[in-house]
């Protein structure tokens, strides 16, 4: 009897200890400076209390959390959004044009091999210290130092003169970055690059405050405590990260050089897209990046002060097709078989446009696209090209896009071209396309101001999904980027459109607008181009 009582006592103690551990562990994600739970919770409580007093917004990111607060390690869109709050990029893509941020201007010299970057003197670190060229040069020298350690995004620095293929300083080389004066530095590139092309390749190009980090050993810099309460130079000042990777709070940078945000605090949280509508209705979020269906948008509009806004930017869907297997004429013939209007009607509810290329439809240089389905011409071309009608084209489709796949399949079958749909998780489908296990696969991306955005996808070395050996696409894209004469540029864009429409290195399908839901706190006017810039939003009175 005594033995059993003792055993009971032990079991009870174990259970109690477990419960205590669990509750304590729930607070271990706190990273507001001090690592002890009590002090961290205190800081968090103070922030939370002050946030409750001021104008605050809750911004929901869809599904996945940010992976880091170290700017150079950010690898996902959500991570880049958080980094954008904290740090100023040199330049960024705006709605319809390039926007200069930390860089006031960039002198592109020697056909794009040498840049002189003139910084904006209004940019300051959150501790009040000016953000200078010295910070940029020190940052670039530090993160290209091999001692800094491996990180996937290091390749973004691999075009700087003196670096190896991974973006680290090669032995015996000198880094092609030089300090000119307090607000000017230069970059010497291995391969000429235009400012427009740089936007897509510079998500992790951020400066760090040299005065706060220079005494830390290079090897320890990426894991230093500094990144648990980072000091940036962007529009948002870090307050706390109450639940790591799940919730992060910022206050407004009142000295932000582009103007003070209208809110006092913004909290980024992660919400699953399946639950986003509920979170809106429950008044827990003010904005969410999740793409909601037309039915849900209609249901939310008008409820609890929620309103739906149409953004200017659009998403564009295309078919990446194996260029080494299908020549330009065959690809064109296949494109003639796809009923793009049916896709617009079925997938976008009629609210979209058939697309023949990736140029923004509201750019002056855009040539309207006349979509036709021409089975007879397609058949004729395929026969002339000795197309093997016994083969079955393998079409990779990410889960949830099966309807699109079926419409394309029906189109192919109308000319006797057999097509097999392979559906699966998105990454698997992309990898299968890159490995040549599928012949074509569905993709989509956001349209950008740059008429040849995502141009690296068309290159022989970097176009992993289209398997091309042609260099003409990427050469033309470069010409467009470097062209300074407006009339000539328009001609080149027309040439680009013609090339994409007739040779179809990728078969562009359709584009559709993006809709957003906003709480009553927000006034309209959010554009998808500035979706990740809530400091520009207008708040209701």
């Amino acid at each position: 009897m005594k033995k059993r009582t003792k055993l009971c006592r032990i079991v009870s103690m174990v259970l109690a200890a477990t419960m205590t551990f669990m509750l304590a562990a729930c607070g271990s994600g706190e990273t507001s400076g001090d690592s002890t739970l009590s002090s961290a919770a205190g800081t968090s409580a103070e922030t939370a209390a002050s946030a409750a007093n001021g104008k605050s917004l809750v911004y929901a990111l869809n599904k996945t959390s940010w992976n880091t607060l170290v700017p150079w390690y950010a690898t996902t869109t959500n991570s880049w959004m958080i980094q954008r709050c904290l740090y100023e990029p040199l330049i960024q893509a705006g709605e319809t044009e390039l926007v200069y941020c930390a860089a006031e201007s960039i002198d592109v010299q020697e056909d794009g091999s040498y840049w002189e970057v003139h910084l904006n003197p209004g940019v300051t670190w959150h501790d009040g210290t000016p953000s200078t060229a010295e910070d940029w040069v020190w940052t670039l020298e530090t993160i290209t130092n091999p001692e800094f350690g491996t990180f996937t995004e290091s390749v973004q620095f691999s075009n700087i003169q003196g670096t190896n293929e991974l973006g680290f300083l090669a032995e015996g080389e000198t880094l092609g970055v030089e300090l000119i004066d307090d607000y000017t530095f230069s970059i010497r590139w291995k391969t000429p690059i235009s400012v427009e092309a740089f936007v897509d390749l510079s998500n992790t190009w951020r400066a760090a405050p040299k005065h706060l980090l220079e005494n830390i050993a290079v090897a320890d810099l990426g894991t230093d405590e500094f990144w648990t309460h980072p000091v940036g130079n962007g529009p948002c000042i870090f307050e706390s990260e109450p639940v790591t990777g799940q919730e992060i709070r910022f206050s407004a940078n009142k000295d932000y050089y582009l103007g003070t945000p209208q809110w006092d605090y913004v909290t980024y949280v992660v919400v699953d897209s399946t639950n986003a509508a509920n979170a809106y209705l429950n008044g827990e979020i003010d904005f969410c990046t999740a793409t909601l269906s037309t039915e849900i948008l209609e249901e939310l509009d008008g409820q609890n002060g929620l309103h739906v806004e149409r953004g200017n930017s659009r998403t564009i869907s295309m078919l990446s097709i194996n260029n080494s297997k299908f020549n330009a004429r065959v690809r064109y013939a296949l494109s003639l078989l796809i009923d793009k209007q049916a896709l617009v009607d079925a997938i976008a509810g009629g609210d979209g446009e058939p697309q023949g290329d990736n140029v923004l439809i509201y750019l002056d240089s855009y040539i309207p696209y006349e979509h036709v389905v021409d089975v007879e011409t397609a058949k004729q071309i395929l026969e002339e090209e000795n197309f093997d009608f016994t083969q079955s084209i393998k079409l990779g489709v990410a889960n949830g896009n099966e309807n699109t796949g079926m419409i394309i399949q029906q189109g192919f079958q109308s000319a006797g071209v057999q097509c097999e749909i392979i559906s699966g998780e998105f990454t698997s489908i992309l990898t299968m396309q890159a490995d040549g296990d599928t012949d074509c696969s569905l993709q989509s991306w956001y349209e950008k101001f740059d008429p040849v955005s995502q141009y690296t996808n068309f290159g022989p070395e970097t176009g992993a999904y289209i398997h091309t050996t042609e260099t003409k696409y990427i050469e033309l894209a470069d010409k467009i980027h470097f062209c300074t004469d407006e009339a000539e540029k328009t001609e080149l864009i027309h040439e680009w459109q013609e090339l994409l429409r007739t040779e179809c290195p990728m078969i562009f399908l359709y584009s559709k607008p993006v809709y957003f839901v906003m709480s009553s706190k927000l006034v309209g006017g959010i554009q998808s181009g500035v979706m990740d810039m809530p400091w520009l939003w207008e708040l209701a009175e």
């Binding site: 059993r4 055993l7 079991v11 174990v14 551990f21 669990m22 509750l23 562990a25 729930c26 271990s28 994600g29 706190e30 939370a48 946030a51 409750a52 599904k63 996945t64 992976n67 880091t68 170290v70 390690y73 491996t150 990180f151 996937t152 390749v155 691999s158 293929e165 991974l166 897509d200 990426g222 109450p242 799940q246 919730e247 909290t267 949280v269 919400v271 699953d272 399946t274 639950n275 509920n278 979170a279 429950n282 827990e284 998105f426 990454t427 992309l430 990898t431 299968m432 890159a434 490995d435 296990d437 993709q443 991306w445 995502q454 690296t456 996808n457 070395e461 970097t462 992993a464 999904y465």
Partner: protein, 321 residues
Amino acid sequence: MRKKLVSRLLFSLVIMLALTFLVFALSSLIKGNVVDTMLGGEEAGTISEEAYNALLHQYGLDQPVPIRYWNWLVDVLHGDLGTSVAQNRSVASLLSQRIGPTLLLSGTSLLISIIISLPLGIMSAYKPYSIWDNFASGVAFISSSMPGFMVCLFAIYVFSVKLGIFPTYGMYYSNQPQTIGNLLIHLALPALVSGLTMTGGLIKQTRSAVLEVMNEEYIKTARSKGLAEFKVVVRHGFRNALIPIITQISLSLPYLVGGSVVIEQIFSWPGMGSLIISSIYARDYDPVLGCCMVICAVVLLGNILVDFVYLLVDPRLSKER
């Protein structure tokens, strides 16, 4: 006894080793790797093959699976669970942040499940084919047949959107202090849903075990001695039916620790489930292996603990051993 414990622990280690190898081997069969997902995605195509291969080499992903597994195992034996390439952080630090919320959610779910199932199971066994029995069967049927994500969405719609009682996501309210009350109100709905999805099996098991015991001779003896009915049912009936019930509870341990992935994802609960999901999407397998090890360890330790509880509830087992 000590010998038995040591042999169980050794056996557990072998199982854990086999499991990690299985996860490692299966993950290597999945298309794509972490470099693909980090540099790829929809807007991929921005690095040369040379840089791609160099990155694979840096992360050791160009080596054959057995060598990679061996390297990983050696690191684990040295106390290093590996590094998340996607997050550029040690797996140990990621797990230390995630394990607490998961254990809190699963522990609370188990408690809720037991609180609901045992009284219902006992009552339905005590009064078979009564209204209690029908009610318990109904609850068990709904619990077993409703998919977890459906219950989640239904519960959120009713309790959060319509009634406004509970929040829809997260562990704390944004812009509010992190108090225990704040935590508990966020915990309630996911724990309730997770607990409810487990009650079906437990109700049925309790009912059948208690029903079987209630026909035993010693129950009749207890009644003939004039013992109160409550004492007969609980002290003599339920107590003797505990072994299969405990077995059923132990069977739900793997689900509790590792299986609430969907619930964690929908409620944005920052536990191991959401870490597993995001790591699988990113093809970042070190955190997945780390989570598997933790889940395996908890389940194996749980089973050992259950063996001790068997001894506690049935002293005959102790004598037999």
